[in-house]
């Protein structure tokens, strides 16, 4: 498996750490409802198809990356730095 790091280019999967669904980057306000925090931390769409998830180029440039990927085919559709996300 190869992933396109926006900084380093295409690299072997073994250079990356995987965290999970991209919503882990969208932290709720501290005072948000318990249910909102439960959604953020625990509940997942977990799609069988296109998903967005967070990878860390740990053995590379140390960027956190949002990868848009298909969980059935493993096709990679996009990769972008989390920092550059709107």
């Amino acid at each position: 498996m190869r992933l396109p790091c926006p900084i380093c280019g295409e690299r072997d999967r073994r250079e990356f750490y995987y965290k999970g669904a991209a919503e882990a980057a969208d932290r709720p306000a501290p005072e948000a409802d318990e249910a909102v925090w439960d959604e953020f931390l625990h509940l997942r769409d977990n799609p069988a198809g296109v998903t967005r998830d967070l990878w860390y180029h740990e053995a590379g440039c140390c960027s956190w990356i949002v990868v848009t990927r298909n969980t059935i085919t493993h096709e990679v559709l996009d990769a972008a730095l989390v920092e550059d996300q709107p």
Partner: protein
């Protein structure tokens, strides 16, 4: 009272050579990490240029020359090898001189040895002289740079010097045994 005695990371572990390949320790007078603060990339690059004659490198590249080389070492970060760096306004500077075990792998077949350890495309058109990468060597995080047609620089954390030497030696022996 005696002075403190300095010891390099690979003392006693290298050099090592096979018939056409050598692996030896690289010693830099200093290694300094330079990380420009937000929006200071240009300023810092200019300051570096003024100080040591080399700009801040683009990702995956080195700048400068043997005794004052700047190697890109990650997101918003580079290592200055050799030349001392005075504080630069607009950048976080840390002394990393003692943090790295540095090795030069030199000779025909160097790429074959690296192919046993590094998950990178090292073909000429892809990883040319002046290129650098953060990657893995074996299971170790590394900085890899190509400094000549058959010459590469490899850096790993100091504490892993013995493992690095062992991995390189095994790969060199296996390559040599194929003849």
């Amino acid at each position: 009272m005696a002075d403190l005695i300095a010891k390099t990371p690979l003392t006693g572990l290298l050099p090592f050579a096979t018939s056409d390949l050598t692996c030896s320790e690289l010693e830099f007078a200093s290694i300094t990490s330079v990380a420009p603060f937000r929006g200071q990339e240009e300023v810092v690059s200019e300051a570096l240029k003024a100080q040591i004659g080399a700009n801040f490198p683009k990702p995956g590249r080195t700048t400068g020359r043997a005794h004052a080389r700047v190697v890109w070492s990650g997101r918003g970060q580079a290592l200055v090898l050799g030349a001392a760096v005075e504080p630069i306004k607009g950048a976080a500077i840390t002394d990393q001189t003692d943090a790295w075990a540095c090795v030069a792998l030199d000779g025909p077949g160097a790429r074959d040895v690296l192919a046993r350890l590094v998950p990178l495309d090292l073909r000429d058109g892809v990883f040319a002289r002046g290129h650098a990468a953060r990657t893995l060597i074996g299971h170790m995080h590394a900085v890899l740079m190509r400094t000549g047609p058959d010459r590469y620089g490899i850096m790993v954390f100091r504490s892993m010097a013995r493992t690095l030497a062992h991995e390189l030696k095994s790969a060199m022996e296996a390559v040599a045994a194929r003849g």
